[in-house]
């Protein structure tokens, strides 16, 4: 129980840091840490799959994406949006969200599920035995992220003439 509380506290701290940090890269890393902790929490609450996915998706992938985005926007111009779009898009999004909420609520209430498909196993088992293929994927994602950052922050040798 104490461990749980510590984890929660750590997660909140990491999240707060992610929001408050001025350096975007640090913020991204903080978010990753926060997600990682969330994954562990999931696992401890008896949802090993959710934990594994949380770690796969958020801690691994989203972080890479964030870093990539930061790398891209640092050098690129701001993306300008026109006024009509500024109005039209939120409106549309609102409508979409409303529809989504109502339909999804209706549907989610009715989503059938198979009996006895409860998640089971330890974190290690799930990660290593069941989802080991994803591990390779995660490695690859991180590798891709590293390579991307390398590529995007490379010295712009021989390319300046463009």
């Amino acid at each position: 129980m104490t461990f749980q509380i510590i984890l929660l506290a750590a997660m909140i701290a990491a999240s707060a840091f992610a929001v408050l940090a001025r350096d975007l890269l640090k913020a991204a890393v903080a978010l990753a840490v926060s997600s990682l902790i969330l994954g562990v929490i999931f696992f401890r609450m008896g949802a090993p799959y959710a934990g594994v996915f949380e770690i796969s998706v958020v801690a691994g992938l989203i972080t890479v994406l964030f870093m990539l985005t930061i790398a891209l926007t640092k050098q690129g111009d701001d993306v300008r949006e026109s006024k009509t779009v500024k109005i039209a898009f939120p409106l549309f999004f609102l409508v979409f969200a409303l529809i989504d909420i109502f339909i999804m609520r209706g549907i989610l209430a009715k989503v059938p599920a198979l009996e006895g498909a409860a998640e089971a196993g330890t974190f290690g088992e799930v990660l290593w035995k069941e989802r080991s293929f994803d591990l390779i994927g995660q490695l690859a994602v991180i590798l891709a992220g590293v390579l991307s950052v390398l590529a995007l922050f490379r010295k712009r040798d021989r390319h300046d003439h463009e």
């Binding site: 949006e81 026109s82 779009v85 500024k86 898009f89 549309f92 979409f96």
Partner: protein
């Protein structure tokens, strides 16, 4: 005589033509002798074949259609006539065409025409018939082109008009073929009813078009000016008449069985009568001898068509007899005109006069032929015209006989004017005395031969009628089984002949009146009629070629073409050229506007798409 002689009859002139074309221009005499010899051989062959009268030959040709040639009474006679004219005109050309720059072409075309004409006459199958018949278009075009600078215009005109007629005939043949199931002419005998009537009319157009009846005549007067005069004597005066009337007779007698008094018979007679009157009215006012003669060449066709159109034996016989007579005197007349042109250098009536003294032989020949064409007793024209009158009266429609008589009046009037202006009367001031001489003998012989033939066929008319005409008509059972030329009075002393003679006298009166009114100038003798109130307008219009089927037809073709081009072709092209491009760029523009580069926009599409797909999937699943 073996059947292959028929083929040689065609091939001989064809090969001669090639040989004549090959003779170099510098070599003298060879060409002329070659031409004369081969013409003579053709004539001999024709004689020989005329004696045989019954041959047929065939060979594999166009797939299952055979090249069938058949000789019997009628073709044999026409063949003889054609060969005779070929010889005479070749003889005449020896001098007349000597200095023509394209003389070897001239001979080649003449002999090619002869070959084609022989072929057309001998064909017993529609396909070779059309082959030879339409092939004459080429030589027609070529021969007219040999004339002056603008001759090619006339050549084109002649080509297109004749082509029109030939195409009509082809269509007619097609119908006949689909009705009868055979292309062999001697196996066909249709009643001209229903579609066959249409076929009859179409084939008739082909025949009378070749013969030069109205309204397919308009190239002939033009050709008279542009083309060599020997051509006029050869094609429009002789060959085309023989061929056209030959085919018309075959159409009316063999291929179809024309009933007297039937609608088609009336139609033919109307065409004949109209041709007689209208063409002779045009002839009357001409100021050029060759043009005048050419209009007569048209007018006389009317008599033949009228005669055959009556569908009664005497009329048909008259038409056929008139055909051969006309070929003689009209050739004679053209050749005399050529003789005048050869020496005097012009055929303009206004510049000629009193030539009888310098060119007595020519004048004599011309006079005989002119009298013959005018139907003066006892020349051949009188006899054949009488037969046509009889025929016309026998059908009961007097109007056609009247038209024929009116034609006779003006024929004589115009020849009085022509002969008077050219050979008699005062000598033209422009011409120095003694400068003009009589033409050489090779030119005179044909004229004299033709003149003599006119006299012979007139005086001893029983001879050609019983030897040539009667067997032809008799071979077509319904038409002339009992025709013996005794039932109708063909001498001077009967009512019909009396009317004819009265017509001639009237014509003389008209001429004298006009001569006096015109200040004793013979070429003005027709002016009173020319300037008569109604006639003047008509003549003016005719002068402006309002009635020229070609001029109007070309206008029509051009108009139609313009409409087709601007109204259909260009709009279709615009659809591809402009329409497709416009539609493409409109769509593209619309779509490109939507792609404005705004992320939110694109995101909205994606989310919208998701909603639509969810909805679609769910709707479709149920």
């Amino acid at each position: 005589m073996t059947p292959t002689t028929l083929l040689w009859m065609i091939l001989l002139p064809a090969f001669s033509a090639l040989a004549l074309l090959a003779v170099p221009k510098t070599v003298k005499y060879v060409r002329e002798s070659l031409a004369l010899v081969s013409a003579a051989v053709s004539l001999y062959l024709a004689f020989a074949l005329f004696a045989v009268k019954d041959l047929s030959w065939s060979a594999a040709w166009l797939g299952s259609i055979r090249l069938e040639l058949r000789l019997y009474q009628f073709p044999a006679f026409i063949l003889l006539g054609l060969a005779g004219f070929l010889f005479l005109i070749t003889l005449y050309s020896v001098v007349k065409m000597k200095d023509h720059p394209r003389v070897n072409e001239y001979y080649a075309y003449i002999f090619l025409s002869a070959a084609l004409a022989f072929g057309a006459v001998l064909s017993d199958n529609f396909v070779p018939l059309v082959f030879f018949w339409e092939g004459l278009l080429v030589t027609l075009y070529a021969l007219i082109s040999l004339g002056g600078k603008d001759a090619h215009r006339t050549a084109t005109k002649a080509f297109i008009i004749s082509g029109l007629c030939d195409f009509a005939m082809i269509l007619g043949i097609g119908i006949v073929w689909s009705l009868s199931g055979t292309m062999t002419i001697s196996e066909i005998g249709l009643k001209p009813e229903g579609p066959a009537a249409l076929a009859f009319v179409l084939m008739m157009i082909g025949a009378i078009g070749k013969a030069g009846a109205m309204p397919f005549h308009t190239w002939i007067p033009d050709a008279a000016v542009d083309a060599p005069v020997t051509f006029m004597a050869f094609m429009p005066a002789a060959f085309e008449k023989l061929l056209g009337i030959y085919l018309l007779a075959r159409i009316c007698l063999d291929i179809f069985h024309l009933e007297p008094g039937s609608g088609l018979s009336i139609l033919l007679m109307v065409i004949g009568a109209a041709t007689i009157v209208l063409a002779v009215m045009m002839a009357l006012v001409q100021k050029d001898l060759k043009r005048l003669l050419s209009y007569h060449a048209v007018s006389q066709v009317g008599y033949m068509i009228l005669g055959i159109g009556t569908a009664v034996p005497i009329g048909i016989a008259g038409g056929l007899f008139h055909m051969i007579n006309h070929a003689m005197y009209k050739s004679g007349l053209f050749l005399s005109a050529g003789s005048v042109e050869h020496r005097a250098g012009t055929t303009d009536l206004r510049k000629l006069g009193g030539l009888a003294r310098e060119m007595p032989v020519t004048a004599a020949g011309f006079t005989v032929c002119a009298l013959a064409i005018s139907g003066v007793w006892p020349l051949n024209g009188f006899v054949s015209k009488e037969m046509v009158f009889h025929g016309a009266l026998e059908t009961g429609s007097i109007i056609f006989a009247v038209a024929a008589w009116v034609g006779a009046i003006f024929t004589f009037a115009s020849f009085l004017k022509a002969g008077h202006s050219v050979f008699f009367g005062k000598r033209s001031e422009e011409r120095a005395p003694g400068k003009v001489k009589e033409s050489p003998w090779t030119m005179l012989v044909p004229i004299l031969v033709l003149a003599l033939l006119c006299i012979t066929f007139g005086v001893f008319n029983k001879l050609p009628l019983t030897q040539f005409i009667q067997p032809i008509v008799a071979s077509h059972a319904e038409a002339g089984a009992h025709l013996d030329f005794t039932s109708h009075a063909l001498d001077l002393f009967n009512l019909i002949a009396g009317i004819s003679v009265a017509c001639l006298l009237l014509a003389f009166g008209i001429h004298v009146y006009g001569f006096k009114r015109g200040g004793n100038k013979a070429y003005l003798a027709s002016e009173p009629i020319h300037h008569a109130p109604f006639f003047k307008q008509m003549y003016d219009w005719a002068e402006k070629r309002f009635f020229d089927i070609y001029e109007q037809g070309v206008k029509f073709l051009q108009g139609l073409s313009w409409v087709l081009f601007k109204g259909i072709d260009r709009p279709i092209d615009a659809v591809f050229e402009k329409g497709a491009t416009a539609v493409g760029s409109a769509f593209t523009g619309l779509l490109r506007k939507a792609h404005n580069g705004h992320y939110a926009n694109y995101l909205a599409w994606a989310l919208g798409g998701l909603v639509v797909i969810i909805a679609l999937v769910n709707v479709l699943l149920k």
